[in-house]
Symmetry: C7
């Protein structure tokens, strides 16, 4: 059962995901999956054990798009590039 939610403060819902793994989809197909350690009202977030996937345009004739990924210990992600944050039910 989803815990009650403050009708006018969606960002505060993140409080219930502290220590949990969340999925963050950003502009230009950047995706971050990691453990939420802290956040602020601008949706700047501190994540740990982060799996980061992104696209790179190769220099072949077709300019193919190749998906790459990195594992990062700890990152501060600026809210400015976030489209949405996926939370567990």
């Amino acid at each position: 059962m989803t815990p009650p939610v403050a009708a006018h403060d969606p960002i505060s819902t993140l409080g219930k995901s502290l220590g949990k793994t969340i999925l963050i989809k950003c502009k230009r197909q950047k995706v971050f999956k990691g453990q939420l350690k802290s956040y602020d009202s601008h949706l700047n977030v501190l994540l740990e054990k982060v799996h980061y996937t992104y696209n790179v345009r190769l220099d072949d004739e077709e300019k193919t798009l190749e998906e790459k990924s990195e594992d990062l210990d700890r990152i501060i992600l600026r809210g400015d590039s976030i489209v949405f944050i996926g939370l567990s039910a």
Copy 2:
């Protein structure tokens, strides 16, 4: 009959859609359909049972655009990428 509306506060109209399914069209052909759980004055919204559709440019010669979709339990969507929110009558 559409309930009366505050002449100078379109965002507060969302209050009448809490718990209802709304359609959100964002920049770059991203579309979200889900149950509205909470919102704030920047149009950041918390949605549940979300169907998310978006376009991906394939790497074939014609660079075809393919529509993809995902179902997400619960998301915080930043108001910054929203163009409009469709409400039921």
Copy 3:
């Protein structure tokens, strides 16, 4: 005869269009025509009986641009993507 206008508050002119049909031209050739129900100082607007036209780039070889349209009961349109609002005389 156009009613007198406050020299320094163009947005308040919208007050005279409440309940009337207005035309809104947005960035990237998006156009909305609907009945104005409410607005705020950021030009976020609530519209009803809305006809929405927009362009989609087809995947044919010429990447043709095709005009599409939708009818929507009620929408909140963010001021951020508006270029201008056409009012009746």
Copy 4:
């Protein structure tokens, strides 16, 4: 002889153009010519008897750019897309 100007308030100069025809050049080659009825500190403006010219990319092979124009009774133009406003001497 150009009337004296407040050294630190270029926008207030618009006050002298109320009721006069002004030319507004916007981003992406959009141009508006109309009678200034009101303005605010964000350069949002209310214009009447407006001639609006803009470019449309045709779907021919060369993707030709064609200039189009519309006459509008009364519009609120958001300051956000304005590059400059041409005033009479």
Copy 5:
């Protein structure tokens, strides 16, 4: 000899250029040269006797870029599109 400058207020330096001709380079290769009449803290400026040069992409096969120019009596230029302002020594 360059007059002393307030270490923390570059914009106020414009005060010494009131009535003088300045060069303004904007985003997307737009250039304005004119007499500075007034300015504000957002670098909105009022210019007179303005020579405005800009680029237009022709519709020939090579999509050639052609430089065009206009002479304008008096303009308000929004600070938002300015990259830099060239002052005389």
Copy 6:
């Protein structure tokens, strides 16, 4: 063991990285690696002993993308272009 973190202030976590080497990934594939000397709430940062890598599009027929790099003594990097900052565990 990761030091405790203020649940609502991810940026303050940078305090623990003062004097340490951090990795900063910016928009348009710009990457900075250097010693953090100071930061502010807008994520403007002062770095020393900086290795800066970026992409340049060559003018060959394929418009190949070539990676370049520079070593810089000391830089102030504006927070505006930062996507994320990688911190050591």
Copy 7:
């Protein structure tokens, strides 16, 4: 030896570069090298004896990118287009 730095005010470090030559890298490959005369908290800067280099896309078939440069006496550069400022050690 690098002078001590306020842990939370990277911009104030510019105070130590007043009268010195600094390198400023901006968006879209614009680069400015000049003597810093004044700056503000938005990183608007006043520079003198400025060498400005930028890229221009030629109209040849390959759309070659050519580097150009200009020497300017005195400029006010808006902070908005700055990526980073290189300071001497």
